[in-house]
């Protein structure tokens, strides 16, 4: 695999992690001493994706701005890898007028039409919307595809089933990606899912199914490449499950007592140091590049956050706008 490509993967993963570490810091910064979910610079629920960067990066490397993607409640890694503007996205998370939705959406509702990117906070319900984007792309004779991303917990929701059947039946250019991070809040995948791999479920719809183990960005890149190629070639949908890891809580503030020893194991599987070591061993990365990558990410993130913080809050009266066109 090309060195520049691999460095690019690394760069993008570091960029996403740097971003989420900064968001995490600001999220907690001013909620103390009496921690209040509604208080502070960033209020509300905050679902961060640390550990799941390989999925977003390996997948989105195959997508253009004209391809669609629907993300779930945990969207930052996907948004950034897809190409959503970091400044506007950050301003949205900080609830500012300059945000993607002028502060109306928040972190679970990032909408960027220029990237055909959207989220839904309702489990699995973003999936049918991606099927509809694919239907539109298909009807218009483009080679664009749509990607629906959801967690392993979402694969037990009816919308998952209906969407796969529909996309297969109509041979639509959709890639269904399941991020299996072993947990749905406190419910382990073994307590939610009757089969060890969701890839098995592809057979129920007559579509290609594949599960990627190891949370390795390069393996994701290759599997996603096959799926995207099938979709673009008009060969119909693919169900791709990636076994990844949730390094942090379900949402910020989650004490994770329910994880027990598994947490330490998970933390020892951070994909970024692992990939960095691999690239160093292969001579693709050296100290200087690593430094440069980190510095570049830090600068971009600092700029985006500064932009958000310096942006005005929306005017209260704007709450009444945009119910209807």
């Amino acid at each position: 695999m090309d060195d520049e490509l691999r460095r690019g993967f690394y760069r993008q993963m570091v960029r996403i992690r740097t971003y989420e570490e900064a968001i995490r810091a600001d999220y907690h910064a001013d909620k103390t001493p009496a921690w209040d979910i509604g208080a502070g610079l960033i209020p509300g629920e905050m679902h961060l994706s640390a550990g799941q960067e390989p999925v977003a990066v390996g997948l989105c490397a195959h997508l253009t701005a004209d391809d669609g993607l629907t993300a779930p409640h945990r969207p930052h890694h996907l948004a950034l890898a897809k190409g959503v503007d970091m400044r506007k996205m950050t301003a949205e998370i900080y609830g500012r007028e300059t945000g993607l939705s002028h502060g109306k959406g928040g972190h679970m509702h990032l909408f960027d039409p220029s990237q055909h990117f959207s989220c839904s906070g309702i489990i699995a319900e973003g999936i049918p919307v991606a099927v509809g984007q694919a239907l539109a792309f298909h009807r218009r004779g483009t080679t664009n595809i749509a990607v629906a991303v959801a967690g392993e917990g979402a694969a037990n929701q009816g919308a998952f089933h209906e969407s796969l059947n529909l996309a297969s039946l109509w041979k639509l250019p959709v890639v269904f990606v399941i991020e299996d991070n072993d947990w749905a809040i406190s419910v382990a995948r073994t307590a939610s899912t009757s089969v060890p791999s969701n890839a098995t479920r592809a057979a129920a719809y007559g579509v290609a199914g594949e599960r990627v183990e190891g949370n390795d960005v390069e393996a994701v890149y290759q599997a996603a490449g096959r799926a995207v190629a099938r979709a673009r070639a008009g060969e119909g949908p693919t169900l791709l499950e990636v076994h990844t890891v949730r390094l942090w809580g379900h949402f910020e503030g989650d004490a994770q007592a329910y994880r027990g020893d598994e947490l330490a194991v998970a933390e020892s599987h951070d994909p970024i140091p692992a990939y960095e070591a691999k690239l160093r061993a292969d001579g693709v990365l050296d100290d200087a590049t690593v430094e440069a990558v980190r510095a570049e990410a830090a600068t971009e993130v600092a700029d985006a956050i500064a932009f958000a913080k310096s942006s005005p809050e929306p005017s209260p009266a704007s709450a009444y706008q945009h119910v209807f066109v």
Binding site: G68, T70, G99, L100, S101, H102, G103, K104, G105, H109, F111, P113, H116, S118, S120, I122, E125, I127, P128, V129, A130, V131, G132, Q133, A134, L135, A136, F137, R139, A146, G158, A159, E162, S163, N165, L166, L169, Q321, H322, V323, F324, V325
Partner: protein, 346 residues
Amino acid sequence: MTVTDQPAAASATRRLTTAKAISEAIAQEMERDPDVFVMGEDVAAYGGIFGSTTGLLDQFGPTRIIDTPISETGFIGAGIGAAVEGMRPVVELMFVDFFGVCMDQIYNHMAKIHYESGGHVTVPMVLMTAVGGGYSDGAQHSQCLWGTFAHLPGLKVVVPSNPYDAKGLMTAAIRDDNPVLYMFHKGVMGLPWMAKNPRSIGPVPAESYEVPIGKAAVARPGRDVTVVSLSLSLQHCLDVADELVGEGLEAEVIDLRSVVPLDRGAILESVGRTGKIVVVDEDYRSFGLSGEIAATIAESDPGLLRAPFTRVAYPDVPVPYARPLEYEVLPTHRRIREAIVSVAGR
């Protein structure tokens, strides 16, 4: 609120059923705009269980008139995704009573995406659905439920009572950049296999036209009592009003035509003149449309009413099957007549 958007005597000599008026509106919009297409269960070869898409398959073929699996969340969601990408899908939910299997797509997505996106994403989609009872279809196939949808912000809700409005409202709904829920009562469709009021067949101009969404119509002017209704009940109200003329009682019958936006001005203007109101609503009585009309008046001026606010609505019971039971709870001619007469103080 005026009656100007009623058919001018000359302009429409053709008489169509409401069902045909709806399918004609869809056909004309499909000819105008290649982005319009139809999806739903049994909309193709069958032509829609209640005739809303009859003939469209022959005219436009299976790539634009698409039968779906019984996967309402899947295909309504697909309609939303297509609309987000600029298509203008007309999607049918066979009976509104089935909304529970797909409500998340309807109200958390179709209705909210525009707002959540800060106005950057539009969802120009029409969801049409059959409502209403009166033919013993039981508790899961006979409801109106417009109050349920009107309570949740983000959807326009239109409810025609006659063929003319049905065509014009469908045309307006398809052209609207907002999501529109289009609710047709089976009893106004003029179906050959269901008892019907003659008002379900009426003059419809051949050319395309819009009936504005959010504008009520004075279906029948009168000075004594304001009767506010919609859909099939409106037809009953007109029958009763005609009958009462003989008794010297002039009821003003207002056809809401849209529940969202609700034409509050039209209601207040009429009640301001009559001081008396009867709301006739086939939807469940409590926590719905009829209550909102009471609030509209009481907020404006409780003194407007010179007689108690009166509703002829569906009592808060599920729809029973047996005819004597269902006709006990439906807003029938008898119940409407008694209410108007008693409010009029005759």
